[in-house]
């Protein structure tokens, strides 16, 4: 079965530094998402992306966050100035269809630790 791949699997950074989390969605998918899971808490929606623009974002996704699809294959999440509370597992996902019954395919995640 095709997979969503995420790199790196672990990222350690200092507070205030910029990080870029990378994802390669499944090749024929058109809709892309970032979710995150703080240790012991729910998986939370961050942002959805379609046709080179954000289609929906949560309250978590403030001005420190941005997403980009720079080259037609990668999908990146940038955190401009990391805070301690950004430490979490970040999951990328993609789907063929938007909303409704569209099944999401998730990557294995990037564990971000902000020190």
């Amino acid at each position: 079965e095709p997979e969503v791949t995420q790199t790196p699997s672990h990222q350690v950074t200092q507070m205030g530094q910029e990080v870029i989390l990378r994802c390669v969605p499944i090749s024929n998918h058109l809709y892309f998402y970032w979710y995150r899971q703080i240790l012991g808490q729910k998986v939370e929606f961050l942002v959805s992306f379609y046709n080179n623009e954000i289609s929906e974002k949560s309250e978590i996704f403030d001005d420190q966050f941005s997403v980009e699809r720079p080259d037609g294959s990668n999908f990146t999440l940038k955190i401009r100035s990391t805070k301690l509370e950004d430490s979490a597992m970040y999951f990328c996902a993609s789907s063929e269809e938007a909303g409704g019954d569209g099944k999401l395919f998730f990557g294995s995640g990037t564990q971000l630790s902000v020190l």
């Binding site: 729910k42 999951f91 909303g99 099944k103 999401l104």
Partner: protein
Amino acid sequence: AQSVAQPEDQVNVAEGNPLTVKCTYSVSGNPYLFWYVQYPNRGLQFLLKYITGDNLVKGSYGFEAEFNKSQTSFHLKKPSALVSDSALYFCAVRDISDYKLSFGAGTTVTVRA
């Protein structure tokens, strides 16, 4: 706003016994309901979904789930659990007009031999 509740943090069963993981949901319109499973060091994997039609849906690895509109529940079931079913299970809901999935907090299932 849509939300999901998984009332049990952990479920422990013996291999060969039935397994049930509970989920209740809240959504303004008709719900699209999903179950995902997460094995250690892996991403969330799709198990099954309810969109419309038959209230009992069958999914991967012998799992099934029953949609109950009156109780706003979507419990995951397996008639005979295996040790390899030990994992973290997430229920999720999406409103018909929404892009995002809202996940429950997850239930850790441990199946002992």
